[in-house]
Structures are given as structure tokens and as C-alpha cells.
């Protein structure tokens, strides 16, 4: 079983939910990232989504946009992001790592070269916000050959017919976008998310993680009651940005936040 599948299965078996956290690689400085990843893992984070900084992150809200800009100010490249994963893997072979970003970063490197480098670094999954399954063929097979999952998103506006088609291509887990909006938006409606997740369950055996708009222990707990995974990003990235002047304080701060989320979810 893949590392991703194992992380989801374990939590499901223990009656809890998988905690997925997002940070932008190199934000607010490249030296922070691996330490922050380790701190998150030690607080009970199961899956780390590592954002590939991109100049035009059109699906992101203001927090993650700012995170991308802070990372790009250090000229963080996709190659550097992969090196960070490799460094993290030297001390952690348990936590799953999923790269998340935009297609152009991967295309600039080339699908084959990227898949090879991601595999060597120890990447478990890839999410590309603006790559729909219809256009994903070559990258998907390049990743699949190396045991890396290409994770697709479903949204409140996705019709059931389309969801079925997307799910045929899906692997790893399903990322359900909980609201119409950008990352970090404030209009999460937990009841409608619960309903949709229940309906998606009848279409796929894959674990379903819910993200966008989950910002604290309380909202994480409510979502954990029905979702296999809870994704938290913007609030973490904002916190890291606020500590940009004292980067040495970041690992402890993200660890505290992750622990709060973990405890809230385990109490669900």
C-alpha cells in the first residue's frame, strides 16, 4: 500500500480523520521549510501538501498568494522544492508528501523529468489546481509508472456525471473543494459539504479529503466527523507570514497550530 493510502487507512481504522496541512515551499524563507515540515509531522500531521510557488496562483486567496510572493522573492525553483522533500525524507519516511501547484511549473521541467525527480525525492502525490483530468493523460501515466498519485479536485459545482468521469481517473485520495471561492475563503457551509461528501462516497472507494475554508479546531472537528481527511492551508500560511521576521519561531508556532487541529479532530 502506498504511503498516502496507509496514512488514510490508519486514521480511518482508528476512527479518526487524516490531517493534511499546506505550506508554500520556501515561505517565508527556504531555510524554514524542512524544519516546519518536521514540526508539523511531530504534531500528528499525516499528509503535508507542499506548495510549488507560482507567479500567477489564480485559485488562491490573499494568504497563499502572499506566501507564493514571499517564496518567489527568494527565487525558489521547482528543483529546490524537490530538494526540500528529499531532505525531509532523510529523517521522515512516514509522513506523506503531496506537491501542490500549477501546471506551468511542471511543464517547464517536462512531465517525464518531473515524475522522475519527484519519485527520487520521495514525493507521494501531486495536485495541479488547473489541470483537469481531460488534459492530464501524459503526466498521469508518467507519475503512475513511479507510484505517484495524481490527485484531482471536485467542487460544489461539479455535476454527478462529471464527478463519475473524474473519479475514474482519480488515485490516492479525492480532494473535495468545500466552497465556491479561493483558498482561505470564509463561506464554508459544513452541512452542504457533509451531504455532498456522502453522495461522493457512493461513487468511489477512495478516501475523501475536504479543504478550502477550514481555519481552526472547531471547523476541523466538524468536517472530521464525516470526511476522511481535513485540509488546512491558508491559516497556517498566514501565521508563517506573520513570523517572517523571526523565522526561528515558525516551527514551534506551526506545531502548536497542528496540535490544536489534531486534538480537535480526535475529539470528533
Amino acid at each position: 500500500m502506498s504511503r498516502l493510502a496507509t496514512r488514510f487507512a490508519e486514521r480511518r481504522d482508528s476512527g479518526s480523520s487524516t490531517l493534511v496541512t499546506y505550506l508554500v515551499a520556501g515561505d517565508p524563507a527556504p531555510s524554514v521549510t524542512v524544519a516546519a515540515m518536521k514540526a508539523l509531522a511531530s504534531a500528528g500531521v499525516d499528509v503535508i501538501e507542499l506548495g510549488i510557488p507560482f507567479s500567477d496562483p489564480e485559485a488562491e486567496g490573499p494568504d497563499i498568494q502572499a506566501g507564493c510572493e514571499r517564496a518567489l522573492a527568494h527565487r525558489v525553483r521547482l528543483r529546490d522544492v524537490l530538494d526540500m522533500v528529499a531532505t525531509f525524507r532523510q529523517s521522515d519516511t512516514r509522513t506523506a508528501v503531496v506537491l501542490m501547484g500549477y501546471l506551468n511549473s511542471v511543464e517547464a521541467m517536462g512531465s517525464e523529468r518531473f515524475a522522475e525527480a519527484a519519485s527520487e525525492a520521495g514525493v507521494d502525490g501531486v495536485i495541479l489546481v488547473n489541470l483537469p483530468p481531460e488534459e492530464a493523460g501524459p503526466l498521469r501515466s508518467a507519475l503512475q509508472q513511479r507510484g505517484i498519485d495524481l490527485v484531482f479536485l471536485l467542487a460544489p459545482t461539479t455535476t454527478d456525471a462529471r464527478a463519475k468521469r473524474v473519479l475514474e481517473q482519480a488515485s490516492g485520495f479525492v480532494y473535495y473543494v468545500s466552497l465556491k471561492g479561493t483558498t482561505g475563503a470564509g463561506n464554508l457551509d459544513v452541512d452542504s459539504v457533509r451531504e455532498r461528501v456522502a453522495s461522493l462516497r457512493s461513487m468511489t472507494p477512495l478516501p475523501i479529503a475536504v479543504g478550502f475554508g477550514i481555519r481552526d479546531g472547531a471547523s476541523a472537528r466538524r468536517v472530521a466527523q464525516f470526511a476522511d481527511g481535513v485540509v488546512v492551508g491558508s491559516v497556517l500560511v498566514r501565521g508563517m507570514g506573520e513570523l517572517a521576521a523571526t523565522p526561528e519561531a515558525i516551527p514551534a508556532a506551526v506545531e502548536a497550530l497542528a496540535r490544536e487541529l489534531r486534538e480537535a479532530m480526535d475529539a470528533a
Partner: protein, 420 residues
């Protein structure tokens, strides 16, 4: 409109560029591909809205009532057909090919942009949307969007890069007078591409009641085809007018290319006429060699941005790089995917003109013909000034005079060292 045809009769040519002749030209395919370009690369939340837009558009194309409504608006509200004007003095002074100007500057709101906003506003109305959003660079598309929104009583929000808000203050005020809210975008490079990002973010949030009027032949499918079809009235009229005046088709079509909607509007009805040469002029800024320009077709590489695959200005890590042009409307790192396709096919040729040459052309046309072109349009005029003298006197050039230059007077004055 050709989109309907290309959607319905999707037998002919494969989406690869393996056409036998341009008589078969019929793109995009049903997935919005122009060969390897185009497509629909968007966040999942928007997919449904794009499918819906595609469906409604296709059904309205078959609806004679919609076509009549569009044609009537173009005639009575926009003032079409726009004249095809023989620039006699400019022709004489340059001493070569006969130069005609397709006068899109005479349209209501002063540019070709309104052809598309009229069409998309009708679409929005048919889809029951009550809110319009748009991105704008020079402000012409923002003004054209605010105009149609005012006319239909719709709410309108225009996203504009903070840098463009400063250099196009007259258009910002025009939009406000029309009742639109202009939102300055301060992220990224603070220009058109960032305005487009912000408009996408708005749309993803308000997709239920909002229609996004993209202003150029770029973006996710079906926008490149839909905007092209609405703008193709330019080329169709040109064809008829040139036949009436000269008894034959033009030898060369010239237009400036930012996203490329005025150029494609002129070119598209002539693609199958292989003897008609088509020249797109990009913004050369300080010169291609300096890297400070906005000419992805001349100096870019294929990549994916704003929903489609096309030529982009990016670094070797895939980051979109800052562009530069004196004209805000051309200051964009991408270009419509059909232009990328026509470039690869060799059917259209693309070149670049510097800020300096565009300014010289602005003054030249103003002084010789009493017509003040937009700085965007001035790039196309500059190409004509360079190439018309070397052409035969019997040859015919048609330039798309895509917009008027009133909005640029402050920029030109500043450049000439004049305080107004």
C-alpha cells in the same frame, strides 16, 4: 459565425496541424484545442460554468433571434459597419502600397472591444446572470463592459492592475461614470495578467450569478472561439468593403496583437484565402534584445496560463515574467491560442515594434490623416510605415485601426516632455 460550424462538423481536420490546405481550416475542436494550443485549464469549480457557457453559446448561434439581436445592436448601438477608409495622404507620403484603415476607432466607446462585450452581454442576459465582471489593461475593454452593463442594468465590477489604473486614469473615470466599480489589483506585477487572475478569483466565488466577460481571444474554452466569432464582424465587413471598393481582396492584413482579439477579428474570415498575407504586430517595448517587451509570439515559449496553452513569456522555471510596453493594452505575457496555432502553421506572421516606433507612428497618422490612433494600434501603423514603401503601388494593405488615441494623450505628452 464559424464556431457553430467548427463545433458541429468536427470531422474535418484532426486537431493535429496536419491539414492539407487551409481550405479545411476549422478550429477549435470540441475540446477547445487549436492543435496543441488552447484547451480548458481551470480550477474545477469553473468547469461547470464553462460547459454551460459553451452549451448556451452553441444553442444561441443556431437561434436566428439571437443573431438578429446582435446584428441590430452592432448597427444601431455600436454604429456598424465601420468604414474602410482609404488613407490617401499616408499612401502618397509613403509611396508604396495602397493603405486602408478599418475604422474600429469610430465604434461606440472608441475601439473594437465593444463588438465582443455586446455579444457577451446578450449571452449573459440569456443565461440569467445579473452581474458582469471584466479585466482590463488599457481600460478599453473595461469601458466597453461597463457600457453594456449600464445599458442592461447589470452590476459591473472591473479588475484593473494598479499600475494601469495610474496610467489610464481617464478610462478609470469613464468606467466610474458608467456605474462600474473599478478594483485596482496590487498583486504580482500590478498589470493586466494580475487583473485577469483577480477576475478569475471573483468568478470562482460568484459563479452562480456572474458572467465573466473576457476581453480577448484567450482564456479557457470556449472564450477564444466565442470572442473571435464576435470580433469576426471586422474581417467580414472588410472583405465586403474591399471587394466593393477595389474589386478584390487585400494583399496584406495588419493588426496589433496583445491578447489578439482585434487581429483575429480581422484575420479569421481570411484564413482560407491563402494569398492574403496576415501580419500581427506585438509590443516590442524597449526592443526584443533587452527582454523588456510584451512579445510572446516573437520571443516566448509554449506554456499554460489563464486557462489555455499558448506562447508565454516565462523564465526557465515556468514563472511568468514581467512584461513591458508603453501601451497598457498590449502589456500581457500571453496571447490567444489561435494566434499561437497560426504562427506554428505559418499562416500568419508575427513581428514586434518598439515603444519608440509606435510613438512615431502615433504622430505620423495624426498629422497625415487627422486620425489619432490608440498606442496599441500605433504598433500596427508603425509596421505599415516600414513596409508599405517597399511594396508595389497596386498592392493593398488593410490595417485594423482598432482604437482611438484620446485615452493615451497624457502618456504621449509625458513621453514628449510636455506637462498638461
Amino acid at each position: 459565425m464559424s464556431y457553430e460550424k467548427s463545433m458541429v462538423t468536427s470531422q474535418a481536420p484532426a486537431s493535429e496541424s496536419g491539414m492539407v490546405s487551409f481550405a479545411d481550416y476549422n478550429f477549435p475542436d470540441e475540446h477547445g484545442h487549436f492543435g496543441r494550443f488552447g484547451g480548458r485549464f481551470v480550477a474545477e469549480t469553473l468547469t461547470h460554468a464553462l460547459e454551460e457557457l459553451d452549451r448556451v453559446y452553441r444553442s444561441l448561434l443556431k437561434d436566428p433571434g439571437f443573431q438578429r439581436e446582435f446584428d441590430r445592436d452592432l448597427a444601431e448601438y455600436v454604429g456598424r459597419p465601420s468604414p474602410l477608409y482609404f488613407a490617401e495622404r499616408m499612401t502618397r507620403e509613403l509611396g508604396g502600397a495602397r493603405i486602408y484603415l478599418k475604422r474600429e476607432d469610430l465604434n461606440h466607446t472608441g475601439a473594437h472591444k465593444v463588438n465582443n462585450t455586446i455579444g457577451q452581454a446578450l449571452l449573459a442576459k440569456h443565461m440569467g446572470k445579473r452581474r458582469i465582471i471584466a479585466e482590463t489593461g488599457a481600460g478599453q475593454h473595461g469601458v466597453a463592459s461597463a457600457t453594456v452593463a449600464a445599458r442592461l442594468g447589470m452590476e459591473c465590477v472591473v479588475y484593473m492592475g494598479a499600475e494601469d489604473v495610474e496610467r489610464q486614469s481617464l478610462n478609470v473615470y469613464r468606467m466610474k461614470l458608467l456605474g462600474a466599480r473599478v478594483v485596482p489589483v496590487t498583486s504580482g506585477s500590478r498589470t493586466l495578467k494580475d487583473a485577469m487572475n483577480e477576475a478569475m478569483r471573483d468568478w470562482v466565488t460568484n459563479v452562480d450569478d456572474t458572467h465573466y466577460i473576457i476581453g480577448t481571444v484567450a482564456g479557457p474554452h470556449p472564450y477564444p472561439a466565442l470572442v473571435r466569432d464576435f470580433q469576426s464582424v471586422i474581417g467580414r465587413e472588410t472583405r465586403t468593403q474591399c471587394m466593393a471598393i477595389e474589386g478584390r481582396l487585400p494583399d496584406v492584413l495588419v493588426a496589433c496583437v496583445g491578447g489578439g482579439s482585434n487581429a483575429l477579428g480581422l484575420f479569421h474570415p481570411f484564413i482560407r484565402d491563402e494569398n492574403v498575407r496576415m501580419v500581427g504586430v506585438e509590443a516590442g517595448g524597449d526592443g526584443l534584445a533587452t527582454g523588456r517587451h510584451a512579445a510572446p509570439l516573437c520571443a516566448g515559449v509554449p506554456g499554460v496560463l489563464h486557462g489555455n496553452r499558448t506562447y508565454l513569456m516565462e523564465d526557465d522555471d515556468g514563472q511568468i515574467i514581467a512584461t513591458h510596453s508603453i501601451s497598457a493594452g498590449l502589456d500581457y505575457p500571453g496571447v490567444g491560442p489561435e494566434h499561437a496555432f497560426l504562427k506554428d502553421l505559418g499562416r500568419a506572421e508575427y513581428t514586434a515594434v518598439t515603444d519608440e516606433d509606435a510613438l512615431r507612428a502615433f504622430h505620423h497618422l495624426t498629422r497625415t490623416e487627422g486620425i489619432m490612433p490608440a498606442l496599441e494600434t500605433s504598433h500596427a501603423i508603425a509596421w505599415v510605415m516600414e513596409h508599405a514603401p517597399g511594396m508595389d503601388r497596386e498592392q493593398i494593405i488593410v490595417v485594423n485601426l482598432s482604437g482611438r488615441g484620446d485615452k493615451d494623450i497624457l502618456t504621449v505628452a509625458r513621453h514628449d516632455g510636455i506637462e498638461l
